[in-house]
Symmetry: C2
Subunit: 323 residues, 2 copies
């Protein structure tokens, strides 16, 4: 058996720093040439960086650069937005994954590459956007080769849940449901729940809401939300249970509506869920109400795989400049 | 022509104080025996009364009592809830309006009567509640006799919009859409709009949203909300316009869903809207998208008429005790 030093010679050329720099957090991963994560670091989000993106990054990279020399960096997320370091454009979908890497915006003399976002016309004919999720999609396609074959549905649940159609490996139409944000603002600021800060999911209340919601699939969500409060007044739910009931209504609405929108092409048999395991498991439960299977991929792993995939496909000129 | 003194002898027996004591505000109206409002006063809402309901009320009534002696008082709203003075029960609908007056809860030795709320099983088979709106419904029935004939649809738009069916003068099933609360929390706390405090309605943006929403009546509202943000990113909407667009989506969803729920009986030809004129006019526009006419009644006038109607039908024993 080879020693680590023999297997992975620590030369700068083989190492890369992958970073997910969102609105609230920066997460950096030092990876070796095989894509294995050696170390990680965290820093302030784009909204709290005060415009000092280069300084923030260089401070965090200093110890790694001391050991590995010049390190190429690939960043995704809001760092590429109008509140970020530089505005990386929104590329129009449908788009081949490899073209995303080719369209990165280089800063710091080419050492740092920032992944562009995507835009499309959604099923309502309205412009829609994603930034950050495109990298998780790239990672999912890398981690699961089967997703590049035929028509596949990906769902990235979160603050702004994204539903994405993949056609023969090409990223197609997508649309957004701000289920997580609506949940959080109603939990923290409305009389529907009154459970600021939140409680762990009560699965019985969550499933009760899924069942209640799906019993009237033509109803508007707006006419179901007051149940969270009414069922507390009647003594049927506690405040923490009402929070889970609200979650069930919102995720039930998101899943039902998405499946209806997506069935215009062909009924989904399976959906690939990409996100935090606690959230993808709730979406999996909601999908199972419609007899749709799901595959769950961890969102952080998908983001890292996507960043490394982008790094592999960066134009050589930029790469040589960066190393 | 009679002088005011000749026409309306100022004896305590003929005067009444009507009050709408909600969560945030107390509004008192001194009325003469004809129901004309002579004076008004305001005080803290039920949530800010610190339990000192009798003291708060007596302080506000003191100048009027100095002139008119003992005055009967009728109060509606959250003053009768579990955060109020005394818990007035939720009466089960369907219910005849006159029974609401008969079920008032008397305090202060019978001088103050508090109107009960209503509950029902809504179209989803879930318990639903109203408190305060029942009094506006009573007022609307008093102000517009035609509403007591046949099947009538009333809509009371607001923080928690209530849709109410009246069958031959009997208050029947109702349901709630927290359209106003969802609007306010998304406007003030989400990235959908980012226009805290709000702007006057931009009617073009509002109508654009109604048109966009109604073009896909089977879609889930959740998949339309992100448009408020996306259309700002694309430069189609300013933040104040996005706020009005959000309002259009929510009111469009409320009206569409309510008409679908109510059409199980018979398609609505007309809806009586009760509320603030700026809000009922927006609902009227949303109804006209479905070729449904509307009659608009001022909510404050309806509440006052309802309180006086309750006063007229109070059990005599309580009345004599109060005067």
């Amino acid at each position: 058996m080879l020693s680590e030093a023999e297997r992975e010679p620590r030369v700068a050329g083989g190492h890369v720093v992958a970073g997910d720099w969102g609105t609230s957090h920066l997460r950096l991963f030092l990876c070796d040439s095989t894509g294995a994560c050696l170390e990680s670091a965290t820093g302030p989000g784009a909204a709290a960086s005060g415009g000092r993106f280069a300084a923030t990054l260089n401070t965090l990279l200093a110890p790694w650069r001391g050991r590995y020399g010049g390190l190429p960096v690939v960043l995704c997320g809001m760092v590429g937005s109008n509140i970020g370091w530089v505005q990386a454009p929104y590329l129009s979908a449908p788009i081949l994954p490899v073209l995303i890497a080719k369209s990165c915006i280089a800063v710091e003399h080419g050492r740092v590459n920032i992944v562009p976002g995507l835009s499309c016309r959604n099923p309502f004919g309205v412009v829609d956007y994603m930034r950050g999720e495109e990298t998780q999609v790239l990672g999912a396609l890398r981690l699961n080769q089967a997703l590049s074959s035929g028509r596949q549905i990906l769902c990235l649940p979160g603050t702004h849940t994204k539903w994405v159609v993949i056609e023969d490996g090409c990223i197609g139409q997508f649309f957004t449901a701000p289920a997580g944000e609506v949940f959080a603002v109603l939990r923290d600021h409305s009389v529907m729940v009154r459970n600021p800060g939140g409680s762990p999911t009560d699965l019985k209340a969550f499933n009760d809401a899924l069942r209640a919601f799906n019993a009237f699939p033509q109803a508007q969500l707006l006419h179901r939300l007051f149940e969270c409060r009414a069922r507390q007044l009647s003594g049927e739910l506690s405040a923490p249970q009402a929070e889970s009931y609200l979650s069930g209504l919102l995720i039930g609405s998101d899943v039902l509506g998405a499946l209806q929108l997506l069935s215009a092409g062909a009924a989904a048999q399976s959906v690939c869920l990409i996100g935090s395991p606690d959230l993808t498991s709730l979406y999996s439960a909601a999908l199972s109400f419609h007899a749709v299977d799901s595959l769950q991929l961890d969102g952080a792993s998908a983001a890292l795989a996507g960043l490394l995939e982008v790094h592999r496909h960066l134009p050589q000129g930029v790469l040589s400049h960066a190393v």
